[in-house]
């Protein structure tokens, strides 16, 4: 086996990322604490989440120092999840619609049409 180059990086970068993760976590907690609602809330939650995930994967898990062959092999397949997300959203909407139509309080279907 080719001797692998060890992943050695100065300790400062870990401490900085640690600090950043603390700040981002506090920020996402404050989104709830100050009762932001609607699109602003969802936008902020997703932005802080993606930033945190990116920092963990790239620095703590050393992904930015890996070769592209590994990076792409691991990160590209996760894009498939977008398809599953879309299917889930379609299905959820449809189920909600049929529940509303058949079990909701407004579902007064005349007897002869049942």
């Amino acid at each position: 086996m080719a001797h692998a180059q060890a992943q050695q990086h100065p300790i400062g970068i870990y401490l900085k990322i640690w600090g950043l993760l603390f700040i981002l976590s506090t920020a996402s907690y404050l989104v709830d604490y100050f009762h932001f609602q609607g699109y602003l809330r969802w936008f902020l939650i997703v932005v802080f989440m993606l930033l945190k995930a990116g920092l963990i994967v790239s620095v703590f898990m050393h992904m930015i120092w890996e070769r592209l062959a590994l990076m792409y092999a691991i990160l590209v397949p996760t894009l498939l999840l977008i398809v599953l997300l879309g299917i889930g959203a379609l299905e959820g909407n449809y189920t909600f619609f049929t529940r509303g139509a058949f079990f909701g309080p407004a579902a007064h279907v005349p007897a002869q049409h049942r």
Binding site: S25, D32, A53, F60, L68, L81, A89, R99
Partner: protein, 241 residues
């Protein structure tokens, strides 16, 4: 005895830029993931599969939450704690998040000291990581107990609204907690190996005949950071949404 010639091309050949580099690595002989020990490459592939499992849970949770006609219980209130006579929303979950992030920080530093062959520091940092992980699991046990005993949340229903709340909650956090618990056990195993000097003396482990080395600390670290990563998504989608 003559020394065998180094035939690995990984170190000697220049890596082409960008996409060409990927093609060069993937079309090369024997191994696509150069400069990465096998254990680490396989851990990454395991983590990819685990990503899909957790995503299935989170996407199913989205689907049931979208499709229910009952109101969804407000996590901000459900997970509030009364501290010093004041009701603070979601405080337990926030503390759990900080505990897990701190354990990730100590883990990253343990990997660094491991490659420096600083046994003492690696051992101490791994042990702190395990302790923080155990703290996290303990707080989760407290959270579950409070939810089951005081709030009456069950997988099939709860007094606050949509029945799917309980099933999603127990499934997702239960699976994550199991991952943390397994991680704590393996952290302790790796810490003991480091302390005993198994990795310095390349002693094989009990499950494998492969020689021990400090790369296993990094592989362990990948798993641990992944557990933290999953929590980031659970925190955002389940607790904050």
């Amino acid at each position: 005895m003559t020394q065998p010639v180094t035939t690995s091309s990984a170190a000697s050949l220049p890596l082409p830029e960008g996409l060409q580099g990927i093609v060069a690595d993937w079309s090369s002989d024997q191994r696509a993931f150069k400069n990465v020990p096998w254990g680490k490459a396989m851990m990454w592939i395991f983590l990819l599969s685990d990503t899909f499992i957790f995503s299935c849970f989170l996407i199913s949770y989205m689907t049931v939450r979208m499709s229910t006609t009952e109101p969804w219980p407000n996590p901000s209130e459900v997970f509030a704690l009364t501290l010093w006579g004041k009701k603070i929303p979601l405080i337990l979950i926030a503390i759990m998040t900080f505990v897990l992030i701190s354990s990730s920080g100590t883990m990253a530093m343990a990997v660094k000291f491991g490659y420096e062959k600083n046994r003492r520091m690696t051992f101490i940092l791994l042990l702190i990581t395990a302790a923080l992980g155990a703290t996290f699991v303990g707080m989760q046990a407290f959270e579950w107990t409070k939810l089951i005993v005081e709030e009456g949340v069950r997988p099939w229903g709860n007094p606050m609204g949509a029945a799917q709340f309980g099933s999603s909650f127990f499934m997702i956090t239960g699976f994550h907690g199991t991952h943390v618990s397994i991680g704590v056990i393996f952290l302790i195993i790796v810490a003991v190996k480091v302390l005993r000097g198994d990795l310095d003396h390349e002693r094989p482990g009990f499950l494998t005949g492969r020689k021990g080395n400090y790369e296993i600390v990094e592989t362990m670290g990948l798993y641990w950071h992944f557990v933290d990563l999953v929590w980031v998504f659970i925190f955002a989608f389940f607790y904050l949404w």
